[in-house]
């Protein structure tokens, strides 16, 4: 059986003037439906580029991304993105931001009342049902990111792409949101791909951790399966030997074998 999402011999290079920089080289990855994948690596290794390639926001140089055996080369709501800096439209309220996505994706398929219920259902899912009429400037960073997640989930994506979704948040808020994401993943069984540079976050949330080598011409160095039972509890994992060994494996990869070399 072919995998749900297949990244097949993917290369990406950027040309500027006469110079060509190869960012990613020969990326191969198969992802099953419902899997939670984290992509981890040092900054500048091309993780975000890889996510943009899957999202279709950046064109592929060579190779292909196949979703359910069909090539994707343009962005679409089947691969919803949660952006690092939330990307909510500041002139719309929380409700309207989600509505924009729902109206576009379900315009012919759901009635007005159904769409309203769907918007509220998604906002309630991220516990933002109380702030529907607030504008993004009136809510906290963590709340904005929740709304961003609600907007992405409301598109009913086949794959949810998270680009360092909690990177800009403080540690406490990040922990709240990680738990929310775990809860949503358990309930909805979405396929999720998350970019992160936080080792604990990767081990806590993922089924598999994809570790990238340093650029240029970065590729997948190792893939680590995290065989921890779900639901996972942050506190119980702290002393769990499997958790500790997973953490150690990622740390060893990042700081022993692929130390970040300061480029300039």
């Amino acid at each position: 059986m072919p995998s749900y999402l297949k990244i097949d011999h993917l290369d990406k290079s950027f040309s500027r003037g006469g110079q060509t920089t190869e960012v990613l080289k020969d990326i191969n990855l198969d992802i099953e439906q419902g899997e939670y994948i984290s992509i981890i690596g040092h900054s500048g290794c091309g993780k975000s580029t890889l996510l943009n390639l899957i999202a279709g926001l950046t064109p592929v140089s060579f190779g292909a991304v196949l979703l359910e055996n069909k090539e994707v080369n343009a962005p679409g709501p089947d691969r919803a993105v949660v952006f690092q800096n939330h990307s909510l439209l500041p002139w719309l309220t929380v409700y309207e931001n989600v509505k924009l996505a729902v109206d576009k994706v379900f315009s012919g398929k759901k009635s007005k009342a159904e769409r309203h219920d769907w918007i509220m259902q998604n906002l309630d899912l991220v516990q933002m049902g109380h702030a529907v009429d607030k504008r993004p400037s009136e809510i906290s960073g963590g709340m904005k990111q929740r709304v961003g997640i609600a907007r992405a989930l409301a598109m009913e994506p086949k794959i949810l792409l998270l680009d360092e979704p909690f990177g800009a948040l403080d540690a406490l808020t990040r922990a709240h949101l990680q738990d929310s994401i775990m809860d949503i993943h358990a309930r909805l069984k979405n396929t999720m791909i998350m970019i992160t540079h936080d080792v604990d976050e990767a081990v806590l949330l993922s089924d598999r951790i994809v570790m990238m080598t340093n650029g240029p011409s970065a590729t997948i160095g190792e893939v680590l399966s995290v065989n921890l039972p779900r639901p996972r509890k942050r506190l119980e994992l702290v002393s769990d030997s499997r958790y500790i060994s997973c953490r150690e494996a990622v740390l060893r990869f990042l700081y022993e074998r692929h130390r970040f070399v300061e480029a300039a």
């Binding site: 926001l57 990307s87 009136e138 809510i139």
Partner: protein, 304 residues
């Protein structure tokens, strides 16, 4: 505002065994506003209003005094305030009198001029935003059009008038065209800058949602570029008002510009001075009006 965020998930995340659930911030209630402070607030408000109004009044009074002293002597080239009051009293106190087809209050004349500005500027706003969007969005449109815009925008408004009279063969559409061509450049240029400054994030959102061109224009471009567009509109309305007076001097008719020219030809200097004050006040009001609309429309856009 941050309070509700902590509440719903609080029990999901016990952070450390030592620290129990975060203390609910709802407990803290702000003390009720005391009714006694309302009187005080009113007083403070009056004080701040007076602080804005009194200084310009003092300056105006001082100018009038100097003016009266400078031109009050017999044989002065310009009339002093007292002469203006004596001779143009009807124009000052009643803007909306009608004593015949050419003997009407300045209010009516200003309204006629405003009507022309409305047509010309309205057209310039619509066309300017569309052209600005094109130039801002497409590199080739910018390369092709921008140099032409940069040259044309330096042409003084009145230089367009003869050609416009030749083309339209009528004073009114010619005046409207001059307004249009004067006001459109700042609208185009500012809109283009606004469109170019749309954050890539918003474009990504639009791409993921597969918004089409029209949806993108109305749902992302216009709201996102609105602060820039309104800067352009504000400059444009000011230029329109500058151009209309000059255009009307040459085309004739009922407007405030023609009134000044007419008054000059019949040596009614006090009337001209009153008309200048009208023009200044209306121009100021237009500027503030566009700024106010801009503030209402762009509410929340800058703060993200």
């Amino acid at each position: 505002m941050g309070a509700p965020a902590l509440k719903p998930t609080a029990e999901v995340t016990p952070l450390r065994p030592g620290i129990t659930a975060p203390i609910s911030p709802e407990v803290v209630k702000l003390p009720a506003r005391k009714p006694a402070s309302r009187f005080k607030a009113l007083g403070a408000r009056m004080k701040s209003i007076a602080a804005t109004i009194v200084p310009p009044l003092v300056v105006v009074a001082a100018i009038m005094l100097v003016w009266q002293i400078a031109f009050g002597r017999p044989g002065a080239t310009l009339p002093p305030p007292t002469t203006i009051w004596a001779e143009a009293k009807d124009l000052i106190i009643d803007p909306f009198f009608v004593n015949g087809s050419q003997d009407i209050g300045l209010g009516w004349r200003v309204l006629t001029s405003l009507e022309r500005v409305l047509y010309g500027f309205g057209l310039a706003a619509v066309v300017g935003v569309l052209l600005g969007a094109l130039v801002g969005q497409s590199v080739w449109a910018m390369r092709g059009l921008d140099p032409i815009f940069q040259v044309l925008r330096t042409v003084p408004p009145l230089a367009w008038l003869p050609i416009s009279l030749a083309a339209f063969r009528d004073a009114n559409p010619s005046a409207i065209f001059v307004i249009f061509i004067t006001a459109i450049w700042p609208v185009i240029i500012n809109t283009a800058v606004g469109i170019r400054n749309i954050p890539q994030d918003y474009r990504n959102v639009a791409e993921v949602l597969r918004l089409n061109t029209i949806e993108f224009f109305f749902k992302i471009m216009v709201p996102s570029a609105a602060p820039y567009i309104f800067t352009g509109l504000k400059i444009g309305i000011g230029l329109s008002w500058l151009a209309i007076v000059a255009a009307e001097m040459l085309t004739g008719g009922v407007g405030i510009g023609f009134f000044i020219w007419d008054a000059w030809n019949s040596s009614r200097l006090p009337d001209i001075i009153v008309a200048l004050i009208y023009i200044g006040l209306v121009g100021f009001a237009l500027d503030r009006l566009v700024a106010l609309i801009g503030r209402i429309v762009t509410r929340g856009v800058q703060a993200s």
